[in-house]
Symmetry: C2
Subunit: 411 residues, 2 copies
């Protein structure tokens, strides 16, 4: 399962340190750039931010985006752990820095798992030693092990990768994500405002400055990670990061415009879009991916707001599960979305099947609609007839398994 | 099951007109005041309002609250039915008016059921004849049949009643409600702004003007019906009404202050609070009632906002179902609520068991907490440590049955 798009100058690995309740489940990952790298990141906007989020956000702003490594654990979120939790996060970074012989300032930390419990730091320290030993001294492409280690209720590791050209030079971009429940990201940059525990780690051997990558990441995340909802719950630990080390030898991107920037951003969009779809499809208990398109809106913001409410509606999501063409639930969600529209102008489709025109039901084949809704990927499309702006949101169906997973997650 | 608090001068009944898919399920109800009565009402704030909502809202504002009868059907919501649906609602009122020999202006209409399908008006007309025949010419206390007829996915009829004194004169108040799914009411008056399909019909033989009752109803609903969520979905058909006919001979209440008003409002609060608890306990698939208290807030509004987000969180609701003392999910919901707080000042209790102090976990007995969470009614209490305002929200646990009910509701 080794990657053919693995970026030059990076190593990654994962192992089981015994932090997860599940025996032998990999629960620690390490990403490392052998060269100095620039990083950009987005953080949860949840007010109860986990310790590693607080620490890494500080590092990003204080050290101009210089970064060499990201260490991640699953099993404990290190959230609601107060000052001791912050100290644990600092200690994590220090151990990794020492082992890799880099500055602790250049080590970012992320965590996912149960909120409110401390990390077992003895096991963590042992894990750090193992990770560094795994890496060895040369480039170690074990990204697939890292992708496994960050999983919690995820059923599959999520990886996306691409090779593209920047100024004629082939560059590589590789990303992995975890996220299955508590997914309704509202990510923001260290200063801005954008929207799980969703964790995303992207590595590239392109060369770009932190401000440029920050801009690209915020823009892309706003149309990908910030447009996916599994259960409407925004995590305390959401974290998306990208590291670029320039090892490919392509021209450095220093301004957020122009051909090189656009090529970079397009590649990033492809990676983030793929990871977002994989997150939606692997939503806790999900049996299918549901894509919601809102078109004909006055603004992209209002379109997204409405798409978000439709995609978060338990009634819409259970209807998708039951393959019930109950489009009235879509209309009810639209009506409570806070977005103004004229009910007599709206149109609704299930896939290509028109079910509502000018606000009233169209005659449609129930059997055909049910057959469509039994697909693994389904589209709900609405047009407000007000303008030309649009947006989309990804989610999954709502199943009895979701309840089963979450009624028994911790105890 | 006849009521001992049945208000003088009112009749009510219910029957099966064949509108519901379930065979012999009662699906039409009629409430009738033998004397002229004053009414007040609240309507859903969903933008896609059902035809009966639009019609009744117009009647309330145009006819100064004069009302004699309310006719209700389940089986079809008469929502997203366009002009034909509005005509159906008008026809409904006309049939009832003719049968009862009152003005069509004085007949209110409400519906609940599937969105987007027309009512079978031939069956409806037959139903109206049956209802009027049932009422006969004298007072007919068959409120329990009406309470049954308005049920959809409800498992039990919901009735609350009280006898109290107004100026020394005994008066009666009786109410019934339906509501089990698509419950997150955002009710408002015909002009104002407050917050399922939740339907509530309250009858009293007290005497009060429409403006006074409107004020009392909005104030009480804001702390009862607008503080309950089953699934976060706000219906197109929510409707709460009160009719007062003065038959008890108590002094008329003409201003929204003073002892009589306060006595009236206290009685109304008791009825609405009881009905709200019954709705939460009978939430689709629910096995328990969950009460969320947010205290120590800067404003009641912010406390309610946070309580609403905690009570709507699928992760909190599934943890309640699984009796999992996973208070971190409460904290995560607080953090995404949009209400500002200091995570290091918060306290959280499960019932009387403190589980979090100053933002970090307190040592508590897991076994004791699990035992508590297995109760039929549970309380989650948080204190923000910022002020002295508070609010509460009612909900239920989230179960596999909820998904089962809603994945197969229509087809």
């Amino acid at each position: 399962m080794k990657s053919s798009c693995w970026p030059l100058g990076f190593s990654a690995t994962g192992l089981s340190a015994g932090l997860s309740k599940k025996k032998n489940k990999k629960d620690m990952a390490l990403f490392f750039s052998h060269l100095p790298a620039q990083g950009a990141a987005l953080f949860t906007s949840n007010l109860a931010k986990a310790a590693p989020i607080l620490l890494t956000e500080k590092k990003l702003t204080q050290h101009r985006g210089h970064v060499r490594a990201v260490v991640v654990n699953s099993g404990s979120a290190n959230a609601a752990t107060g000052v001791p939790g912050l100290n644990d996060a600092e200690t994590s970074a220090a151990w990794v820095a020492k082992g890799l012989k880099v500055s602790p300032d250049d080590v970012w930390v992320a965590s996912t798992g149960v909120i409110g419990t401390r990390i077992n730091m003895a096991k963590y320290e042992h894990g750090v030693r193992g990770l560094i030993k795994n890496l060895g001294s040369s480039e170690t492409n074990e990204g697939h092990l890292a992708a496994e280690a960050i999983m919690t209720t995820d059923t599959v590791p999520k990886i996306a990768e691409i090779t593209f050209k920047l100024g004629g030079v082939p560059v590589h971009m590789w990303g992995c994500a975890k996220g299955s429940g508590m997914i309704h990201p509202v990510l923001r940059g260290p200063h801005g405002q954008l929207h799980a525990t969703m964790l995303v780690f992207i590595l590239t051997d392109a060369s770009a400055t932190t401000p440029v990558m920050q801009r690209a990441l915020e823009s892309v995340a706003d149309r990908t990670f910030n447009c996916v909802s599994i259960d409407g719950d925004t995590s305390t630990n959401d974290f998306v990061s990208i590291l670029a080390n320039g090892a490919a030898g392509a021209p450095e991107i220093t301004v957020p415009r122009g051909r090189h920037y656009n090529e970079f951003k397009a590649a990033l969009m492809q990676i983030c879009d793929q990871l977002t779809r994989k997150i939606a499809l692997d939503g806790e208990g999900a049996s299918k991916l549901v894509e919601v398109h809102v078109e004909g809106a006055r603004s992209e913001k209002s379109a997204r707001q409405m798409a978000s409410v439709i995609a978060s509606s338990p009634l819409v999501k259970t209807a998708c599960h039951g393959a019930d063409p109950n489009w009235g639930r879509v209309l009810a969600a639209m009506g409570r979305s806070g977005v103004h529209f004229d009910p007599t102008r709206i149109r609704i489709w299930l896939g290509d099947i028109p079910v509502c025109h000018a606000g009233v039901e169209l005659p449609f084949s129930e059997a055909e609609a049910i057959r469509y809704l039994k697909n693994k990927e389904i589209l709900i499309r609405v047009n407000l007839g007000l303008g030309h702006k649009k947006s989309r949101y990804l989610t999954c169906d709502f199943t009895g398994q979701y309840v089963g997973i979450n009624a028994g997650y911790r105890t």
